[in-house]
């Protein structure tokens, strides 16, 4: 079937269309089951079973949820900005899906009788990485518009918070990606992945995580913030803002925000897998596989890596408490930003001495963290915790009738 279509078109275009028709339903199913998995993980971490009534093991739960969302009354608050109110969830979901276009899902496929191998990627852009970064940053528009258009002060605060958070966390995110871009000298995601398929000492894959672990941690933190996941989900902080930006949304519009969030998570995970964990690279196999079975194996490995990331997202969500907003900002501007700037500087120095992607990268990253640690503990720089300009705590609250 695939072969037939490819031969009909004889181009990458035909293959891209086939891929598109496969990827979008696959990702949407993945998104549906992420919501199921999220509830399962939250339950398991809290010694519960999670949804287990709809179908075997509760596997029909996403279907039941979908039917529920479609059948619910679609309510719009009085005074809402109608076009924007309707546009916001669509933007949130649509923009999140744009990122799927440039993810290299499974290397390249060489069918018999074709001169050029086909990229298992919907669109191989020269600036794939920048595109993904730009599209990721656009995701906040859905949230901001939802907050603005609902005519609700809590939603508005949620939107404002999301905007401030996104603007701040874009910077360390960009800087930590810059580290990889500089070190690898590539902006095409598929080339970055290919670079990581080589082996050190014949067994250790040359994944960037081994060279730039600190950049990875910073990027991971920023992706958590970008996808509005706990502990950075201040835009929908229910203790303070009712529901935050989606306070006034219900039925399918509400669900679309969540589909958008999970799609964003999948794209973000795929992005991190490509940059740091060798994308579709199967650990143990040195070279790229271009046979049909090889490509399928690589697709499966990519899916597994993404699933692990999604599990980690959920694991973190159900472990860590939410930040306070000032802590969130401080973590970004006083913590992540200086460290990621220093890391970018270190990579530039490595490039100057012409030793990128060598053990010097690891030494540089560890060195930056060591310096940061010394600075923080020696000078007691309060990145988090109580700030120096606040008065000393005196918890001597006089008891009524007491003699203090």
């Amino acid at each position: 079937m695939v072969d037939w279509l490819v031969i009909q078109f004889h181009t990458q275009l035909g293959f891209s269309i086939v891929l598109l028709l496969v990827v979008i339903p696959a990702v949407l199913t993945g998104v549906g089951y992420s919501t199921y998995f999220e509830r399962k993980v939250s339950a398991w971490l809290q010694d519960r079973h999670g949804p287990n009534r709809a179908g075997p093991l509760g596997l029909l739960q996403p279907v039941a949820d979908g039917v529920k969302f479609l059948l619910k009354e679609d309510f719009m608050p009085a005074g809402a900005d109608r076009p924007l109110y309707i546009l916001a969830p669509m933007l949130s979901m649509g923009i999140a899906m744009l990122g799927l276009a440039v993810i290299p899902w499974g290397g390249s496929y060489q069918p018999a009788g074709l001169a050029e191998p086909l990229q298992v990627q919907v669109a191989g852009l020269d600036i794939g990485l920048l595109y993904l970064l730009a599209v990721g940053a656009l995701g906040v528009y859905g949230v901001v518009l939802a907050g603005w258009s609902s005519n609700n002060k809590y939603a508005f605060y949620g939107g404002l918070r999301a905007a401030a958070q996104m603007v701040s966390y874009e910077i360390p995110l960009g800087l930590s990606i810059l580290v990889i871009v500089l070190a690898s000298g590539q902006l095409r995601l598929e080339n970055i992945v290919e670079q990581q398929t080589a082996l050190w000492w014949g067994f250790l894959p040359q994944w960037n995580i081994f060279l730039h672990p600190v950049s990875f941690i910073i990027m991971f933190t920023c992706v958590l913030a970008e996808t509005n996941r706990a502990p950075f989900d201040l835009a929908e902080c229910e203790q303070e803002l009712v529901g935050g930006f989606h306070t006034e949304y219900n039925a399918m519009k509400w669900a679309m925000f969540f589909l958008g969030e999970y799609t964003h998570m999948i794209v973000g995970s795929a992005f991190m897998v490509c940059l740091f964990f060798g994308g579709w690279h199967v650990p143990g196999l040195a070279a790229e596989q271009t046979t049909l079975w090889g490509v399928l194996l690589q697709l499966a490995v990519m899916g597994a890596k993404i699933s692990i990331f999604i599990f980690v997202f959920m694991w973190i969500r159900w472990t860590l408490p939410r930040f306070r907003f000032d802590q969130l900002m401080r973590l970004c501007w006083k913590g992540l930003l200086p460290v990621s700037l220093a890391l970018a500087l270190v990579v530039v120095v490595e490039l100057f001495f012409n030793v990128p992607r060598s053990y010097w990268s690891l030494i540089g990253e560890v060195g930056v963290v060591a310096v940061a640690l010394v600075a923080v503990s020696l000078f007691r720089i309060p990145v988090t915790g109580r700030q120096w300009y606040l008065p000393d705590l005196d918890n001597r609250t006089p008891l009524r009738g007491g003699s203090v």
């Binding site: 010694d47 079973h49 159900w318 503990s377 990145v383 988090t384 109580r386 918890n395 003699s403």
Partner: protein, 182 residues
């Protein structure tokens, strides 16, 4: 009198440099939750599984007892409806057809939705005619359905008569730990 030296001041714990970089604490927290991933689940799958009652004097739905001759034991003294703080017992008395008592309830209704299950009625009853069983899972589709009349209350007795509710439990037998009593 509270003296200043009696006061213990507790401030937030100060983190050291490593602590302020969060990683150790985050890893510890993640370890704790990961441990829970593999623990035995605590959920009781309710309709299929039932947990034994924690306390034997649990106050559930009422029953109207029958005497050994299978007659309703109530003598319509109105003690229970007088004692009821929720005013949810409605009794209409009639002349008893039997020689051993003067009155019997023609109508006896308890609004189970208004009831606060305090047990005052069973404490008040001079002939132990009204009792609270340990049944807690009563349901109904309408409010009217939840007003239990005499027949229904006698029916509850017929279904639960093998159990003698414990009105004055020994406090020592009370357990907060979720372990069922003997």
């Amino acid at each position: 009198m509270i003296k200043p030296e009696d006061i213990i001041r507790i401030g937030p714990p100060q983190l050291d440099g490593v602590g302020r970089m969060y990683f150790g604490e985050i890893a510890r927290g993640l370890g704790i939750t990961l441990g829970h991933l593999f623990k035995k689940k605590k959920t009781v799958q309710y309709p299929e599984e039932e947990r034994p009652l924690r306390v034997q004097n649990y106050r559930g739905v009422h029953r109207l007892n029958r005497d050994p001759d299978e007659r309703v034991a109530c003598v319509s003294c109105f003690m229970c409806s007088t004692a009821c703080p929720a005013h949810c017992i409605h009794i209409e008395a009639g002349e008893s057809p039997w020689p051993d008592r003067e009155k019997y309830p023609v109508k006896f209704e308890i609004d189970e939705l208004r009831c606060i299950y305090c047990g005052m009625c069973e404490e008040a009853c001079p002939v132990d005619a009204i009792e609270l069983t340990t049944e807690f899972d009563i349901v109904g589709l309408t409010r009217e359905e939840m007003v239990f009349d005499k027949e229904k209350l006698l029916e509850v007795y017929d279904q639960t008569k093998q159990v003698k509710p414990r009105k004055n439990p020994k406090i020592t037998g009370y357990s907060y730990t979720g372990k069922p009593q003997q």
